[in-house]
Symmetry: C2
Subunit: 375 residues, 2 copies
C-alpha cells in the first residue's frame, strides 16, 4: 500500500506533533508496516486518521503469538451519538474481528455528576449508543458493556484502591479541575482502563485503549498507576499490572468549520438524524472549495480542509481506490463542491437508511447486552 491519505498534512500536523515531542506518543506509521504483515489495517489507520500510539508493539506481539488482547473504550451518554463518536466504535469492531475481548464503559457517572444530565437522560442516551454500536456491527461475543454505576464489585474495589497513590496536586496538574464529581469519574476511568487485568476480568495483560488525542491525560495517569501498583498487586496474587497500550485518532471537524460540538447541531450529523435532514445538513456544510468556480477549476479544491471530504474519508468510502479517485478529481479541479456534496449526501442518506433499519432491530436487544441500572 503506497498511497496514504493524510488529510491534515499541513495545518494540523504541527499541533499533533506536540504529542510526539512532549508526551512520548509515537507516530502510528512506525507500526503500520508490521501490522500490515499480519492483518489488513483499518481504513482509519491506512488514512492517517489514527496517527499516534503508545506501546502498540504489544498488540502486534499479541496478534503474532495469538495470546489474545483486550480493548477498552468508553462512551459518554450526554447526547445523541454522531459521526465523531463513530470512529472509536469502528475501531473496536475491527479489533473484535481480530479476536480481541471488548470492554466498553458507559461513563454515566460523569454524564450525571460532571455534565449534570438527569439520570433518565443519561440512561436513555446510553441505550441509544449501545443500539447504535450493535447496528454498526458490534457482536455480543466476548463483549462487556457496562454502566460505571452498575458493574461488578472488583471494579469498585479497584477504583477505591487506586485513590491511595494519587495526590490532589497531581490531579490538579493533569485535569485542572478537582471537584468531587470529577475526582470520582477520574477514578472510575482509571478502573475502566486497568480492570481487564484483574483475574476476575480475564487477566488481560495486553489492553489497548483507542482514543481521541485529547484523552491522553487519562492514559498517562493510568500508565503511572500501573507502575505504582504493579508490585503490590503481584504480592496480592493478582499478577501485577502492565501499562495499557493506546492509539490516538484525529478529531472530525465540524460541518460548519471549527470543532464538532454536541451543543451545535449544525456542526454534526447524528446517527439517528433523519436521512433527508442529514443530507440537507451536509449540503450546507463548509468545504475546501475556492471562492469561485473558475478559481477552483484552475487551482483545484482543498480536500485537506474539507469537512465533506472528511465524512467521505472517515465514514462513507471504505474503498481506498474509490476515495483516491474522489481526492484526485477534487485536487485536479475536475469536480466542484456542488457535485461532490450531492454524491456525498446521497452516500450519507443511503448509509443512514441502512443503519437505521438495523438500529430498529438492535434497540430490541439492548437490554440483553447491557445491564441497565434501575436508577
Amino acid at each position: 500500500m503506497e498511497f496514504r491519505l493524510d488529510p491534515w498534512s499541513s495545518q494540523l500536523v504541527v499541533e499533533y506533533d506536540k504529542l510526539f515531542k512532549y508526551f512520548g506518543i509515537r507516530p502510528f506509521k512506525e507500526v503500520l508496516p508490521e501490522l500490515e504483515r499480519i492483518v489488513k489495517p483499518h481504513h482509519l489507520m491506512r488514512r492517517g486518521v489514527i496517527f499516534g500510539h503508545r506501546d502498540f508493539e504489544r498488540v502486534l506481539q499479541a496478534l503474532r503469538s495469538g495470546e489474545g488482547f483486550a480493548i477498552l473504550t468508553g462512551l459518554m451518554p450526554s447526547g445523541h451519538m454522531h459521526f465523531g463518536h463513530k470512529m472509536v466504535i469502528d475501531q473496536v469492531i475491527y479489533y473484535q474481528g481480530l479476536g480481541a475481548e471488548i470492554f466498553i464503559a458507559i461513563a454515566d457517572v460523569e454524564a450525571y455528576a460532571v455534565r449534570r444530565l438527569s439520570r433518565r437522560d443519561v440512561i436513555r442516551y446510553a441505550k441509544e449508543y449501545v443500539a447504535n454500536y450493535l447496528a454498526l456491527g458490534l457482536r455480543r461475543e466476548r463483549l462487556h458493556i457496562y454502566f460505571q454505576s452498575n458493574y461488578r464489585v472488583e471494579y469498585y474495589r479497584l477504583m477505591q484502591l487506586l485513590s491511595r497513590r494519587v495526590t490532589s496536586a497531581e490531579l490538579k496538574d493533569i485535569y485542572g479541575d478537582v471537584e468531587p464529581g470529577k475526582v470520582m469519574s477520574i477514578f472510575a476511568q482509571m478502573a475502566d482502563i486497568l480492570h481487564p487485568q484483574l483475574p476476575s476480568f480475564g487477566s488481560h495483560r495486553v489492553v489497548l485503549v483507542p482514543v481521541g488525542a485529547d484523552q491522553d491525560p487519562h492514559l498517562r495517569l493510568a500508565r503511572d498507576l500501573a507502575d505504582r501498583y504493579s508490585a503490590e498487586f503481584k504480592s496480592l496474587g493478582l499478577g501485577g499490572l502492565e501499562r495499557p497500550a493506546s492509539t490516538y485518532h484525529r478529531f472530525m471537524s465540524g460541518l460548519t468549520g471549527g470543532k464538532m460540538s454536541s451543543s451545535k447541531p449544525e456542526s454534526y450529523i447524528a446517527l439517528t438524524d433523519d436521512p433527508d435532514v442529514a443530507a440537507a445538513k451536509l449540503m450546507r456544510a463548509l468545504t475546501g472549495g475556492r471562492p469561485t468556480a473558475a478559481e477552483q477549476r484552475r487551482l483545484g479544491g482543498e480536500p485537506e480542509k474539507c469537512p465533506v471530504y472528511e465524512m467521505l474519508s472517515y465514514h462513507l468510502v471504505p474503498d481506498d481506490e474509490e476515495l483516491k479517485r474522489i481526492y484526485l478529481r477534487c485536487r485536479g479541479g475536475e469536480m466542484l463542491c456542488g457535485e461532490c456534496k450531492r454524491e456525498a449526501a446521497e452516500r450519507l442518506r443511503r448509509f443512514l437508511q441502512e443503519h437505521q433499519r438495523r438500529l430498529e432491530r438492535a434497540r430490541d436487544i439492548v437490554d440483553s447486552v447491557v445491564d441497565v441500572p434501575d436508577f
Copy 2:
C-alpha cells in the same frame, strides 16, 4: 431512675457544650425520659456517656409505632479493637435487641488509602473486629456487615451519584484535607449513612447513627446530602431521603491520661490483650486519687477524673446501684485507689477471660457473617 452519673460534670462538659451551641446537637437528657417510658435505656445513656443527639425523636416515634428503624455504624480496621471501640458496638447490640436492622460498614478503603495499612493487615484487623462484635453478643439476624470495597452495586452507585452535589470547597471546609483517598472515603461514608434508605436495602426512613463526638462532620454532610437529593430520589422512584438521626458519646480517656490512642498501647486495653497483661496495665493507670492517702481519706477521690472509674462505668459494672456504691466509697474517701484498682483489675480479668472464650468460637463463623474480599 433518679441517680444519674455524669463523670465529666465539671471539666469537659464545657467543650461538649460547644456542640450544642454551635452545631445544633441537642442534650440527650431531653429525650431520655421519653425513652424510659418505652424501654430501659442503655447504661451509656443512663450514665450520661451518650450526651447528645440529633432527631432521636424519630427513633422514639419508630419505637412507639413499631414501624422499625435501622442502625448504621462503621469500624476502622487499622489496629486491634480496644475498649474505646467497644462503646459503639455495645449500643448497636442494644438497638438490635430493640428490633433494629443493623448495618455495619468496615472502612477498609480508608484504612488502606488514608491510614496506609496493607490490604492484608486491613482484612486481618477487620475479621478480628467482627469476631469481637459477635463475641460481645451481636446477633446474625437482620445484620449486614460489609467491607466498603465488597458490597452491593447500588451502594457504589449511590456513592458515585452523591459526588454531584458537593464542591471541593465544601469538603475542604468540613475536612481540611481533600486528597483523593480522603475524598473517596468521604463518599463511601456518605453512602454508608444514606444507603439503608434505598429500596434495595429496605427503604429504612429512620436510620440512627451512634457516633463519637468527633464524627459529627460526617453527619452534618450526610444530612445536607439527604436534603439535596431527596426530591430527585423521589422522582427516581426511590422514595426520597430523610436526614439520618444520630447520638453522640464521650470519648474514653487514655489509661495514662490524655487521649486513648492506638499508637500508645499503654493508653488502652485491647479486647484481645492477655487478661493478666491487661490487669497489670490497669494497675498502672492514672487515677483520680489525691497526692497522699491521708489527703484522699479526708477529701475523697475524684472519680470524674479517673480512667479506672471510666472503665468501671463504661464497661465493667452493668448494675447502676453497684456503680453508685463504688462512686460513693471513692468520693467519701472510704476506698483508696489501690483497693479500687485491684477490684477493677479483677473484673477486667474475668471479663476478658469470658470474652476471649467466646471470641474463639466467634472466629470460626466470621466468614459466614461477612463477605471477605479476596484482595
